[in-house]
């Protein structure tokens, strides 16, 4: 039972120890002094508070509430939320750097934290003063946790065709329908729900904030997943669920736009989580190649493996540049930001999965054992190619920009 604790600690030692030589995959190159400080805190937190537990959280399906609250105390609960409601007021690039660093400790937990951050930002940005003050402070401190509810059993990629209805009755909305695959569902407190208040299509969708405990709000069974096991995933069910009008973010019909703007940042964050997992996997592979011997030599003497490792490193740096470039564009509010976020998410999640997968292959049979962390990085980031917009939808967005834009 001690064995499966050893591998993540080994990864943690690698993360903390490898500061001597400026290597080609060093994630701190080109950053400002402040950004390097943020990154250092996040890497230290990941190595000490997350990496030693990532295997246990995965195996026992533990939602690490206390660890996330510790992270929130450092300011990681509302990284790009305004400080007047408890956020840290940092940029999208700072956020990307932080999530990339945290992800080296536990990708699944970091990915949930990024979803939480996205929800708090949506309330901060589109909520009125009363809503911001009501919801944001306790979310930034992670006293309460949030979930993003867009996908339904009948509408994934075709998100605008969602069916959950919200009928206006006096000064309330009555919701009926269900959401599927909701990260944190059932364990979280605040639900940002996209629902239909008007006619068909995106313009009929509004965004409502629900809270656990509201009558008519219930949850499905906890899903069993290949990865992302440190966060529960459940259906969210609305049966004549009554929500006050005061809980609507923005105007009626603005919900789809709010959801998509949230996802632009969400896509950068998910891509950043993939970067962290890939970085950790490259370090693990590098270590394994120097230690493991076959045919009388360390694997690192084998030119094929040297070339493979070089390719992994090159693709990691390329992906990182794509993500950081998109983060800057989003921060500056540039017109091409949304399509760049889509490109970055597409490229980074695909490349990083390939990198983690190669790293597993380099470990040989050991890579397939749960005693070794590399398999968890592979399992955890596989879903990044699917959620927050499938990589196929990312291609649709880029193609539309090229052919219609």
């Amino acid at each position: 039972a001690m064995a499966w604790r050893a591998a993540p600690r080994a990864a943690a030692r690698l993360l903390l120890g490898r500061r001597r030589i400026a290597s080609c995959i060093d994630p701190s190159t080109g950053l400002t002094e402040d950004q390097k400080e943020f990154q250092k805190v996040a890497l230290d937190f990941a190595a000490k508070e997350m990496a030693p537990y990532m295997a246990e959280w995965d195996e026992k399906e533990i939602f690490p509430v206390e660890t996330m609250r510790k992270a929130a105390q450092l300011g990681f609960g509302g990284i790009y939320v305004k400080p007047d409601v408890g956020g840290s007021g940092l940029s999208r690039l700072d956020t990307s750097i932080i999530f990339e660093a945290l992800s080296t400790g536990c990708t699944s937990t970091t990915a949930y934290m990024s979803i939480h951050n996205m929800c708090v930002w949506m309330i901060d940005t589109f909520g009125n003063e009363e809503q911001r003050r009501r919801f944001c402070p306790s979310l930034c401190s992670m006293e309460k946790f949030a979930s993003y509810c867009l996908t339904e059993p009948g509408s994934g990629s075709d998100a605008a065709s969602l069916l959950t209805s919200a009928q206006k009755k006096g000064d309330t909305y009555v919701l009926n329908g269900s959401k599927a695959f909701i990260s944190g569902g059932g364990d979280t407190d605040v639900y940002v729900v996209m629902c239909r208040t008007g006619g068909p299509g995106p313009k009929g969708i509004s965004c409502l904030v629900l809270e656990k405990g509201m009558p008519g709000l219930s949850f499905g069974k906890k899903e069993k997943k290949v990865g992302w096991n440190s966060q529960p995933t459940r259906a969210v069910i609305f049966e004549d669920c009554v929500v006050p009008v005061e809980n609507r973010l923005g105007a009626e019909g603005q919900g789809f736009s709010i959801a998509m703007q949230g996802l632009n940042g969400g896509r950068i964050n998910i891509a950043s989580c993939s970067l962290g997992a890939a970085h950790a996997s490259v370090l693990l592979a590098q270590e394994h190649l120097t230690v493991r011997k076959q045919f009388g030599e360390p694997l690192a003497n084998n030119q094929y493996l040297q070339f493979r490792l070089a390719e992994m490193a090159t693709r990691l740096v390329a992906a990182r540049l794509m993500v950081r470039n998109a983060a800057r564009a989003l921060q500056e509010g540039r017109e091409d930001a949304a399509v760049l976020c889509s490109m970055a998410k597409l490229f980074a999640t695909d490349e990083c999965f390939g990198i983690c997968n190669q790293a597993l292959q380099m470990h040989g049979g050991y890579g397939y054992l749960k005693d070794y962390a590399v398999q968890q990085f592979v399992r955890d980031i596989r879903v990044h190619q699917i959620l927050e917009g499938t990589n196929e939808v990312m291609r649709m967005i880029v193609a539309r920009n090229l052919l219609q834009g």
Binding site: F38, V41, F45, L74, G75, I79, P83, S88
Partner: protein, 132 residues
């Protein structure tokens, strides 16, 4: 023993100047009424002293776990004022006034070794040098 110059002197000299008791290499500190119980990291293990207050303590790395810097504090650090003081303003004379260099010498150069032809003559030479 600070990591910059490794001198292991500042706390001790201060205690001597103030004529206060000292507890150096502290790995655990417990305040009592008018006194402090200090556990020290020494070569042979751990030593616990009880010192009357006021006292001078120096910290060993095992005393505490450093906190993580928070994001807001990192941002505030840049804006903290940096006040420059001249030594003269504090009444500190320039230069190491209390130090006088008596002598500087290199360590003796390493002598050549000597080959012996048997274990017996090795033992003989070691005995002769007073090492055995």
């Amino acid at each position: 023993q600070a990591i910059d110059d490794d001198c292991n002197q500042t706390g001790q000299i201060l205690a001597a100047m103030l004529d206060w008791p000292q507890g150096t290499f502290a790995s655990r500190v417990e305040l009592e009424d008018g006194a402090v119980r200090v556990q020290r990291e020494v070569d042979g293990g751990l030593e616990t002293l009880r010192l009357r207050l006021p006292a001078v303590l120096t910290a060993d790395l095992r005393l505490n776990e450093p906190r993580y810097a928070t994001l807001p504090n990192i941002m505030k650090a840049k804006k903290k004022p940096l006040e420059l003081l001249a030594a003269a303003e504090l009444g500190v004379p320039a230069g190491p006034a209390r130090l006088k260099v008596l002598q500087v010498q290199e360590p003796p150069p390493r002598g050549a070794g000597e080959r012996v032809d048997s274990v017996g003559s090795l033992l003989g030479k070691l005995r002769h040098a007073g090492c055995v």
